[in-house]
Amino acid sequence: MPMLTVHTSTDLFSSSRLGHRAPRSAKEELDSEDVVMSDADSAEPEQESDDDDDRIFSLDHTETGDGDARVTGVVKSRHIVTPGELVTAESMWMRGHGTYSVGLKSYSSVAGTITRVNKLLSVAPLRGRYDPKIGDHVIGRIIDVGTRSWHVDIGAKQAAVLMLGSVNLPGGVQRRKSESDELQMRAFLKEGDLLNAEVQAVFTDGAASLHTRSLNYGKLRNGYFFTIPSSLVVRSKYHTFELPGGVDLVLGVNGYIWLRKHTQQLGEQGVSITRLAEEAGWEIYSDENEYISPSIRENIARYANAVKALRYCEVGVNEARVIAAYEASKEYRSPGEMIENDVKKRIAKHVLLATKG
């Protein structure tokens, strides 16, 4: 195995000594004729070129194909729009995220694709930070402990808020919150602690409010944390998976990932959840890990590298693909071999073939 693999860059820096004392090879012709400023006064500021008219989002351009003007449902266009591009000049559409309007016309404000939900037109950016939605299962890290709430980093544009009233406290649900709880908030969750939670509400400015009022949520331990872009997470009904090899995966919708040793979750012991919630003790806020065997640790590393291979190839991540990548990785005796870029590509290719259809 090579100790260090060196790749040579393939971006703008790859062209070594380009243009060094050399005559310019490519000249960009300016096709404009002599521009005289006096034209400016006569030119209409809102003048659109013919080209723009072609890009107007109208029903003929959608991919439904049936031409019904009242089609419902979600239509995603494959056409790329860029900032400042006219999206529609028709007043029948409602304008959603990623657009702004000047008069009756709507323009795109990001580079992305147009999505239509019923009469709502929005532009989904190609890339961007995680945008919290109600009900999302996310993983976060405490960045700040406030008076009655925690600030949690969930990789969004603003930190999320976790209110003291939105967590289970030791002693069960019926317990009343007292002033002493406010004073010992660091005993529950402190700076740096990881937890998984559900997005309870989204404020108008886009910040999320979280809750952990279920035994599926709460402080995380017995494992390893890393992140992928949130756009790569495939949303599904559940985001906690029990994987082969004694490992659990918590795949946060925000792209934060937790791999841990599989443990009997409290809810699996055959007692009713409500009763358990009442009996939840201090162990839900424990910082101590259980014993984790070396082979489980290696499996966690293998799963982490499997997900990182998918990340490298920008393949969406879901349960089936993670398992397929894990199976494919067994070809390599040590998980350390999976950090090489061509191995990552091979694994991602295998995964796409295995999970097709």
């Binding site: 100790m3 602690d193 890990n289």
Partner: protein
């Protein structure tokens, strides 16, 4: 961002058990793949860029300036400077990087390589920008500097001046250089730059190319300066605020041996990028 206590103890146990299990499965001597390019900046005498897969990135440019020296002086004029984005100027980390590299190069570079005439010498400026670092930037900066120095070329004197400058009695103006860049001399024709490696120690284990989180749970770090096939300098470094920095003699000698092996591999890999 600090790690949680549970994460910290998970990583610490994984790294200190025997055999250790790194969070990305690498063995102790294994580096993450890097993306490297040399000769990327036309305004420099030599330049290089290295990117790590965690987003860490460093660009180094080497510039040579002509200086006058008093007769017989043997000073090697090298200045190393770097700008670490996100840290203020003169931060401890920046000082560590610059001082270590500058000392290493000064000790390793023979003064004859910088000689132009008896009166004029080159002064070498090594400037780096560390655009981003997640793990400790020392190894990254050293590798990029190594590559940039390998790429460095110094212009030759103009041909008509070469013959008569040996006893430069009436050497008045700044020497004239050949304008042909292709004709310039490689600084590293017969010389290898030094390479600084940082290893981290967790329990009895030593790791090269530590990730940020690995350094965060380490007992401490050890840097070695590698030049000409052997280790010429060792130093203990703090890798986190609460690191112990107390090592046994045996663990230090073990670490030095590990880092020496790693340096040998890296040197070979980096030299493979530049073809003379």
């Amino acid at each position: 961002m600090p790690l949680s206590l549970a994460e910290e103890s998970f990583l610490n146990v994984s790294l200190s058990q025997r055999p250790p299990c790194r969070s990305d499965g690498r063995n102790q001597l294994q580096f993450r793949p890097i993306d490297a390019a040399a000769g990327i900046l036309p305004t420099t005498n030599g330049s290089a860029r290295i990117r790590l897969d965690d987003g860490g990135e460093c660009i180094v440019g080497v510039k040579a300036e002509v200086m006058t020296v008093s007769r017989g002086s043997d000073v090697v004029n090298v200045e190393v400077d770097c700008d670490i984005v996100g840290l203020p100027a003169n931060s401890p980390l920046q000082n560590l990087l610059c001082a270590t590299l500058e000392m290493a190069i000064k000790n390793a570079l023979p003064s004859r390589l910088l000689r132009i005439t008896n009166k004029y010498r080159y002064k070498i400026f090594v400037d780096g920008i560390i655009l981003d670092h997640v793990s400790h930037p020392l190894t990254l900066f050293s590798m990029t500097t190594y590559l940039a120095l390998l790429d460095t070329r110094l212009p030759r004197l103009a041909p008509d001046l070469v013959g008569n400058d040996n006893d430069d009695k009436d050497e008045i103006g700044i020497p004239q250089f050949s304008s042909d860049w292709a004709d310039a001399d490689r600084l590293c024709q017969n010389w290898s730059p030094p390479l600084v490696q940082l290893g981290i120690v967790v329990g009895k284990n030593v790791f090269v190319d530590a990730t940020g989180e690995e350094a965060e749970v380490s007992d401490g770090g050890l840097l070695t300066v590698w030049h000409d096939g052997r280790v010429v300098g060792v130093r203990v470094v703090k890798t986190r605020d609460s690191s112990k920095q107390v090592f046994s003699v045996s663990s230090i000698s073990n670490a030095v041996e590990v880092l020496a092996n790693a340096s040998r591999d890296i040197e070979k890999a980096l030299k493979g990028i530049i073809s003379y």
